[in-house]
Symmetry: C2
């Protein structure tokens, strides 16, 4: 069954407390090369059947409306995997 | 400043309660094409200076030891972004 990857990140202009906490921990443990960290979510969605245009449209809707909170997050990438999709059709929402 | 993306997912053999919850919500809201969801973390790390081999080694260590819990999670990908890195050097840890 095809697996589709959806990446969701906090909006750049918003404070990212989780990311700040990770960056602070990295600096305290001597990893001073790190200047910033942002932490988001990565979803692997398995679907039943071929990834046609209808499935792609439904996944985009799911990503925008359920997997992310559009007030504070952006869907930064949807990777439809080995479906016969041109790389440039990955949605940079 | 270069941005490096680290993707961390729960180990496949482990129960993923978050993923199960999302899959249940999707099915209840009529998205029956979805047969499974796994939810992980996506980190965007900005570093100071060029991404040379030393930086790549340090990022791998950070990913394995700090950004993921090796008992329950896998680092599934590290994307060193536009650094002059051949695609195949992305670590599938």
């Amino acid at each position: 069954m095809p697996t589709i990857v959806v990446d969701v990140m906090p909006k750049p202009e918003l404070l990212d407390p989780q990311g700040k906490a990770v960056a602070g921990a990295l600096n305290r443990t001597g990893h001073s090369l790190v200047t910033g960290v942002r932490q988001g979510k990565r979803f692997e969605i398995t679907v039943d059947g071929p990834v046609d245009e209808a499935v792609r449209a439904e996944i985009r809707t799911i990503a925008e409306e359920i997997l992310s909170n559009s007030v504070i997050e952006d869907v930064v990438a949807i990777d439809f995997g080995d479906a016969e999709l041109a790389a440039d059709e990955t949605t940079e929402a």
